[in-house]
């Protein structure tokens, strides 16, 4: 049986991609290696009664047009607000920012009156910047070396958009694209803990520190939410992040997509420079007119296609595409809630994100450890307790706690991740326990997800959660390879639709949708 399109990988991008293609009348088959759909956007009951969003844990920038066009709420998507970021400090104080602007302003004023004033201005500037960047997320990156009219038109569009900004916004925009998060924030704020906790968003999933140039840009993402409507963009999905994937899968199925789990692709068959089908690891051969891969370029090109079918220069580009996973996950089933010394009791501060990012120096030292091949002795941790917002994920009175941990470099100097798993888990527990000493007594179960696990179990090369570093030289028209940023590949009828393509990782869905437009448009 011949399909119009085979999509490799049933993560959220693969599913979005498939749904759009099916809605455009294509006959689509999605192949997922694991027993469960969703890729890294997955909910699993690791410990009886406790449902963990094992990898990805918050809804970040899921594109509103995707929610709308695929009618995801009807398919079960429900996004619950994740309100605020609580940052405990070693001196017994804390910083607690919430969505309520006035409240946050008062809280920041407690640390610095000047910063409270700057916070308003900062917010306004960031919303303006967000408006500038937003359409770029949904655009197919132009090729800057092209002479084709379409490419030139796109480049001109970008130049014009930039020119249309006010001089102040142009200045901010250039700074955002090039500066480090801390240098950028230094211009606005003086409170160390505020800068530390804000800058943390700039390093998530990258092998960069808060003082590394290029990390300022991600600060914007937090403000794009305000444009989309506050709750849509930053929140928890009822039932865990797997519920997002399930909703997209439901939309895809309704549109006629066929989905097979426990079906691993081992080869993409290339005939006369054109993709012809895939071979499964059981040897079955399935043909299709188009193959779209949502897995990363390392797996797609070096494992499934084979270098013999590819130009040397392209192979070299793929080989040097940087993955360098830098983070891990520790998920815990808890008997009770953690009790933070600086703000006792089960208050609303536990319902948002809890950020272990007490100072800029703390963050930078965490990075220093990783540069030389060690996990951070005192890591940056982003904690969420989803059971407070969504009781369906834990038995009554019990809780699940999701800890995103950075830095956990894929390449360790000493030992392997399998040896270091427990030491890493202990480090995370000990770090949090410095702020919430009761933690050690309430852990019922602990799951440690190392970068090596992300690679082995989720097919993320070197454990990079974004399928490749989000550094400037791997973004936009350079993602994943120079000259191949338009979802196409050197193989005819083979497309890319995962996070390794523009605009990159996070539960955004934009790569899957953008790539679908390319396939439908037949621009190959």
């Amino acid at each position: 049986m011949n399909y119009d399109v085979i999509v490799i990988g049933g993560g959220h991008n693969g599913l979005v991609h498939a749904a759009y293609l099916a809605r455009a009348g294509r006959k689509v088959l999605v192949l997922e290696r694991r027993h469960v759909l969703g890729g890294a956007a997955v909910t699993e009951e690791i410990f009886p009664g406790f449902k963990f969003s094992v990898c990805s844990y918050v809804v970040s920038l899921l594109r509103p047009e995707i929610i709308r066009e695929l009618d995801l709420p009807r398919h079960g998507l429900e996004i619950l607000p994740l309100d605020g970021t609580f940052t405990p400090m070693p001196n017994g104080d804390y910083l607690w920012r919430v969505n309520d602007h006035a409240k946050t302003r008062r809280e920041i004023a407690r640390h610095s009156k000047l910063d409270a004033e700057a916070y308003d201005e900062y917010g306004k500037a960031m919303v303006d910047m967000g408006r500038f960047v937003k359409p770029i997320l949904t655009m197919t990156p132009p090729d800057p070396t092209t002479l084709a009219p379409r490419g030139l038109k796109d480049l001109l569009f970008l130049a014009r958009r930039f020119q249309a900004l006010s001089p102040g916004d142009q200045y901010n925009q250039v700074q955002l694209m090039t500066m480090s998060a801390v240098d950028f924030l230094d211009q606005w704020f003086e409170t160390d803990v505020l800068k530390a906790t804000m800058s943390a968003s700039g390093i998530i999933g990258t092998f960069l520190g808060v003082r590394s140039p290029g990390t300022a840009y991600v600060l914007l993402h937090h403000y794009m939410g305000e444009i989309d409507g506050a709750f849509r963009s930053w929140g928890l999905s009822r039932g865990g992040t797997g519920a997002i994937s399930n909703a997209i899968a439901a939309a895809a199925l309704e549109a006629g997509v066929e989905i097979r789990t426990r079906t691993a692709v081992s080869k993409i068959i290339v005939k006369d420079g054109s993709a012809a089908g895939v071979v499964l690891d059981n040897g079955d051969y399935i043909t299709a007119n188009v193959i779209s891969s949502s897995v990363d370029p390392n797996l797609t090109f070096l494992k499934m296609v084979g270098t013999e079918h590819l130009p040397d220069e392209f192979v070299e580009d793929v080989r040097r595409y940087k993955f360098r996973g830098s983070s891990g996950k520790v998920n815990m089933a808890l008997d009770a809630l953690p009790d933070f010394t600086c703000l006792r009791g089960p208050g609303a501060h536990l319902r948002g994100a809890i950020s272990i990012s007490p100072s800029v120096e703390y963050m930078e030292r965490a990075y220093d450890d990783a540069k030389y091949g060690h996990f951070s002795r005192r890591p940056y941790i982003d904690i969420v307790i989803p059971s407070l917002t969504d009781p369906s994920v834990a038995p009554p009175g019990k809780h699940v706690m999701s800890c995103f941990v950075q830095y956990a470099p894929y390449h360790l100097k000493d030992g392997t991740w399998d040896d270091q798993r427990d030491a890493f888990g202990d480090t995370v527990v000990n770090t949090i326990a410095e702020y919430a000493p009761n933690l050690k007594d309430i852990i019922l179960h602990r799951q440690v997800v190392t970068p090596l696990d992300l690679e082995r179990e989720w097919g993320l090369t070197e454990g990079n959660i974004f399928q490749g570093e989000l550094t400037l030289e791997q973004l936009f028209f350079l993602r994943p390879a120079p000259g191949w940023a338009q979802y196409r590949t050197p193989i005819r009828n083979l497309f890319m639709c995962g996070s390794a393509t523009h605009p990159g990782g996070g539960i955004m869905g934009a790569p899957g949708r953008n790539a679908a437009m390319t396939v439908i448009g037949g621009r190959s």
Partner: protein, 521 residues
């Protein structure tokens, strides 16, 4: 009334010369008793003279050398080969000579594959840096409303970009924002070679080799001399001999230079500069004021804040100048011998054997601490000009990095300078055993001295971090990259303007071109 130029460093002198050639009779005012700014040769111990700060030139732009007739004025440029020798802690040394094939032979002792790729790297760097070099002569265009002339320039640049071909076009686009550690890692495996090339991306900055954007610094430096490992061009007698001849050229062209003239203020009336005020209270009226001082010194120290719009002031306050370079000049009883080297090191010596070494040296500085093992770049200027020291004796001129301007806990450089001197000698001792006992005198110039004696705010030798957000149209700030300032008849011509890539004189010449145009009646 003459146009007044503040500062007699390379850029100040070059600007003065070209303005004089354009028919103005500029007056150059130098705070110190000696002309040359960072490019001076000065006595530091009885019988010993040294290039006080810079020991190599950018190199200067050939057109400037020609126009100022520096060679006729007695400057003997020397270009030692090997340009640079990288020292390894295991006692070996890697000399990088100009000829790629010969250099590759030396590299082969460390890695065959590196030796095989070196030639290609030289070509790629030459082509990409060659393109960047074209940008150096430009006045950065306005982005929001480019003039016809600017559009024409941009079109020409666009065509030159296309002429690079797809591979080098993408190389340029990728390399700029990259970390230089990644850039060298893509080409080479030998730590020593990686270190000596990557050093060009971090010298003088508060960035380590893993900082994104250091690829751009490498290209920015390589534009002046596209050889991996950097330029070694200097002059017999040190860079001071060059500025000395430049001063002659300025005078011959009709300019005047006054030393011991410390400008403490720029007089502004009706939003236009009218002159400068000296420390002794003298006011010198001027048709224009041209500052070769750094942007922070110019706008935050010399101009009354009332004369600037708050938004602009904020931007200048946010202009980053975190100095990290210190200078140590050593008077040696005889020529030291470095491990792994048969001959005396004619070019620069590089101590920074590997990316991790350089990054660790940077790490400490982030927290305001001195590195345990600093990155050093040294020369022995007495090899070119024995007259700098008594017979048989030598001078070792050493840049030491990363020495943070702001020390942890507010500690003072006055107390830390001894530690810094010891640290440098101790580090050198590993590579040249016995060197310590040769030291007869030493001069330690800390980042604080760079600020107090040389007027570089924050001790930043480039007059501002050459990070992506402070280069080209953003140097010193977006909208003010054309050497003009918000104050009429006040101009900038120093390293804090485009291109500012070391002692090349290009900022001064570009500025003079714009200023001459603006001053036309």
């Amino acid at each position: 009334m003459p146009p007044v130029i503040i500062g007699s460093g390379v850029n100040g002198l070059v600007a003065a010369f070209y303005l004089a050639k354009a028919g103005h009779r500029p007056l150059v005012l130098e705070r110190r008793g000696i002309v040359g700014g960072a490019a001076i040769t000065d006595a530091f111990a009885p019988g010993f003279r040294a290039p006080a700060l810079a020991h190599a030139l950018g190199p200067l732009r050939p057109s400037i050398v020609r126009d100022m007739e520096l060679e006729r004025r007695g400057v003997r440029f020397v270009q030692p080969d090997p340009r640079v020798t990288a020292l390894s802690p295991d006692g070996r040394a890697l000399p990088l000579v100009r000829d790629p094939r010969q250099a590759a032979n030396a590299i082969r002792a460390f890695s065959t594959s590196d030796a095989d790729r070196y030639g290609d790297f030289c070509t790629a760097l030459g082509r990409t840096a060659g393109f960047v070099d074209r940008l150096m002569d430009m006045t950065p265009p306005s982005i929001d409303a480019p003039s016809k002339g600017e559009l024409w320039e941009l079109l020409k640049i666009g065509r030159q970009f296309r002429a690079l071909g797809r591979t080098d076009e993408f190389r340029l686009l990728r390399w700029g924002p990259m970390a230089v550690a990644d850039l060298v890692g893509e080409w080479f495996e030998s730590e020593l070679l990686q270190g000596v090339i990557a050093a060009q991306g971090i010298f003088g900055t508060a960035m380590g080799p893993w900082s994104a954007g250091t690829g751009a610094v490498l290209l920015w430096r390589a534009a002046a001399d596209p050889v991996p490992g950097g330029s070694s061009v200097t002059a017999r007698g040190g860079p001071g001999a060059v500025t000395h001849a430049m001063a002659d050229a300025v005078r011959d062209a009709g300019g005047e230079i006054r030393t011991n003239a410390d400008v403490v203020g720029i007089a502004v009336r009706d939003n236009g500069a009218t002159g400068v005020v000296l420390a002794d209270g003298t006011e010198i009226p001027a048709s224009a004021v041209i500052s070769s001082a750094d942007p922070r010194a110019t706008f935050l120290r010399l101009v009354d804040p009332i004369d600037l719009e708050p938004g602009f002031l904020t931007r200048i306050r946010n202009y980053r100048m975190p100095g990290t370079v210190a200078k140590v000049n050593l008077a040696l009883g005889r020529l030291p011998s470095f491990k792994g080297m048969d001959a005396a090191p004619a070019g620069r010596l590089h101590i920074g054997p590997g990316i991790d070494y350089l990054e660790r040296a940077f790490d400490a500085s982030k927290y305001g601490e001195l590195p345990a093992a600093p990155y050093l770049d040294a020369t022995i200027p007495t090899l070119q000009d024995p007259s700098l020291a008594p017979a048989g004796k030598h001078v070792l001129s050493v840049y030491a990095q990363f020495m943070p301007y702001a020390l942890r806990g507010g500690a003072s450089w006055k107390d830390a300078s001894g530690t810094l001197g010891d640290l440098v000698i101790e580090t050198l001792e590993h590579y040249a055993p016995g060197l310590r006992s040769l030291v007869e005198h030493r001069q330690v110039i800390t980042p604080l001295d760079l600020e107090q004696t040389w007027g570089m705010t924050g001790g930043h030798v480039f007059h501002g971090e050459p990070s992506l957000d402070q280069l080209f149209t953003m140097r010193p700030t977006l909208g003010w990259a054309k050497y003009h300032t918000p104050i009429a008849r006040l101009f900038l011509c120093g390293s804090g303007t485009h291109p500012g890539n070391g002692l090349t004189g290009t900022s001064g010449r570009n500025a003079a071109r714009e200023i001459a145009r603006a001053l036309k009646p």
